[in-house]
């Protein structure tokens, strides 16, 4: 009996002694394989790369040249960079931009930091799910006219690109298997590759996450705790590594495309938004989609003022006041109404109490999301200037 007991003791001790180390292994089916060197920190998932437009450095550089090229418009006066300026994190400083033929757009120009991670593109459209699809809109839109490329001038515009010697080399590098054909499809894919490569993960917030305990001030840390608190609920729509709930990366198998009504308008008390900017409703015609827009990333938000889909909120201070009130009251005019009672308003916009100190801390936190490298790096800058 005792012998049996001893044997079992020996067994147990053998198990302990011979035990190997714990381990975790991954067979990721090459998810991180890419011909492109993304400037994304390790541990952060990579964006999706479409099968028909894999990322390459050559396409990125070609797209960069096209992005900053005013010749890529009907009257040769507008480039993508006209409304997407690097110093503003690729947004602009206008409430709404103006097209190449002076038509005023109805929606604010969004910043392009990490737009590769957007589940849908543009402010409120569940059908624009790739950059390639989105780029068609500014190039070819008729109402309002943006770049103003149409059936009449598209060949002329294309010829300008063909005639530029710099492009001959760039198209050949980007599309060697096609012999460097200049076509709209190739142009769009290159611009998409450039924009997809505009990644931003070097803000003080990111540095703090990676271990630099000096990167964020105490005020910023307090603001961070407020941001992620149940009191403010900011993180519900602006959470995750990209501060937006409409986010997609290549490790995801099922994706939401959320859109939210935050109570900016309530025209005639029936929840209506101004006719030209009714958000998701314009696409779906579903009454409960009135005024729903995509929650944009808050990275670099300091630089993309004014805010909201129509640029109608001027500063971060006003933004916080707006959310604290639970909606916006418009006293007079054709858009009068109390947005706090918009029937389609998202359930998380309930308003909250906030002291002046807390508001200041929250703003300092939002400023800590500004990535100084992103807005100054030569890699994303206008290549035509340096030439």
């Amino acid at each position: 009996m005792l012998v049996k007991a001893l044997l079992i003791i020996v067994l147990a001790m053998t198990v302990i002694a011979c035990n190997t180390q714990s381990s975790t292994s991954y067979n990721d089916e090459g998810v991180n394989q890419s011909a492109f060197s993304w400037l994304v920190p390790s541990g952060m998932p990579l964006p999706v790369e479409p099968d028909d437009n894999p990322m390459t450095e050559a396409k990125f550089q070609l797209g960069r040249h096209l992005f900053y090229d005013e010749r890529l418009s009907g009257n040769a006066s507008q480039a993508c960079s006209s409304c997407h300026k690097q110093e503003h994190a690729f947004a602009d400083a206008l409430a709404t931009p103006i097209g190449s033929t002076d038509e005023v757009l109805t929606r604010n120009s969004q910043g392009l930091a990490n737009v590769a991670y957007n589940a849908t593109l543009t402010w409120a459209n569940p059908s624009i799910v790739t950059l390639e699809r989105q780029i068609l809109i500014p190039l070819f839109a008729e109402d309002p006219v943006e770049h103003g490329i149409n059936d009449e001038n598209r060949e002329i515009v294309l010829q300008r690109i063909v005639d530029e010697p710099v492009y001959q080399r760039l198209f050949l590098s980007a599309y060697p298997e096609q012999g460097g054909t200049v076509s709209y499809d190739n142009i769009i894919k290159a611009i998409a590759a450039f924009v997809r490569g505009l990644t931003s993960f070097d803000s003080p917030f990111d540095q703090y996450q990676r271990g630099d305990r000096t990167a964020m001030s105490d005020s910023a840390l307090r603001g961070r705790d407020l941001f992620f608190s149940e009191q403010m609920e900011c993180f519900h729509c602006h959470g995750g590594y990209n501060f937006s709930d409409s986010t997609l990366d290549r490790t995801m198998a099922f994706v939401e495309r959320p859109f939210h009504n935050t109570g900016l308008f309530n025209i005639a008390g029936i929840g209506a938004f101004p006719e030209e900017n009714q958000g998701l409703f314009s696409i779906t015609a579903n009454p409960t989609d009135m005024g729903k827009f995509r929650a944009v990333t808050l990275r670099n938000i300091e630089l993309t003022a004014p805010y909201m889909h129509d640029g109608s909120v001027a500063s971060l201070d006003e933004v916080i006041e707006f959310y604290a009130a639970g909606g916006r009251i418009i006293e007079t005019g054709p858009h009068a109404g109390d947005g706090r009672f918009n029937p389609f308003k998202d359930g998380f916009i309930t308003g909250f109490e906030i002291t002046d100190q807390e508001k200041a801390d929250l703003i300092v936190f939002l400023l800590s999301l500004t990535d100084g490298t992103f807005v100054t790096t030569e890699r994303f800058s206008d290549p035509w200037i340096s030439q």
């Binding site: 714990s22 975790t24 067979n27 990721d28 608190s229 994706v255």
Partner: protein
Amino acid sequence: MRITHHRFVSTVLFLALPSWAWGHNEINLTPNTAVDAAMVVNYRSDSSVEKGRPWYVTGAMMGGEAVPASEDFSVDDLFITVTHVGEDNVYGLIKLASHQGSDAAFEHAWLGYRLVSKERSFLNIEAGRMAGLFSPANLQHSDSRLMSEANLALDVFLGRQYIDNGLRLLWGNDRGLSLGVETWQGEAFPATSGDGGGASDVFFKYQNISRNVSWSVGGWYMQAKAASRSDTRYESGHSHGVVVDDIEAYWFDGDTSLYGVHLDVQWQVSSRLTFGLDTEWLWQKVDGSIRDETRIAKLESEANGGWIEPSISFQRHTVGLRYEQMVLNNEFSGVAGEALAALAHLNNTGHNPTRSTLVYRYQIQPTLALRAELLSDKSLPQREERWLVGLIWEKNLWRLKKE
């Protein structure tokens, strides 16, 4: 002296197994009704995690009620048990329990019936809400266990204690052998109930009591199925005081297999001195998929863990040492493997959780004991030391025995 030592042995054995488990494994069920109560109050110098923070042993999916021991004063256990053995071979047990200050709940509520009663063997059927009988350690709480903190392997693999709604068939003979099979609804970690869920196990135990040595050895195998299993320790409405908002939810679908072998030896050297050894080792295999709101990956795990616990009892003093170790291996397939591993705290790159506990216990009276413990806890990557002082009170409040 003799009387004392017999009483002492029974006391020790009483400590090792709850009375009802001891009682109904006998060939003869003696009709009686009893109400027992127990309470354990501890003071700890520290806790393995900060107050309000969740506890994850990196490398294993956790669940059930495996929450870390509390810092400061804590009523770790408080319960009342009512057992009844009727004259008609029917018996039952109800236990109302509160752990670490939680609300009292019916932890056990089950009925048993002796189907077959022969001179030398019996067959029982038991059903209700009960703890799995496959491992003796599964029946222990900090009152009946030498150490105050639950065994790490049980915490990780079984969510501290496997208590579920189920059915059991138990066969035993007068030579100390018992065999059992249990089938469960799956309301306990690592199973889930409903479609795609459920659990079952088989076990055997051999017990031998002679004049100086009493020992038991046993083995068991359990399989559990889960569908959309989440870590219910930290969910809204049931969060053990942890702020759950920034805890990202994940779900597991798949099968868990567990098996274990255990040994318990009590060697009474003299009337005053007893050496003891208690050890159990568990192996776990997991095969399924893990997902969060947007990602999914295939997961295969192999893990093992257990403890060795030698002890010495001299008169009213007992000193014990428990060494615990776990090895956790996980294999992910799919593009989302790394992201999900990080989210579910499964990315263990070489740290084997271990823990050593040194305990001293002094039986002040038959119903009251004092315990002091010293722990060196390396279940998390940072080594932590803490100590404990506590009181254990157990009493049979009332007994009615029909002769």
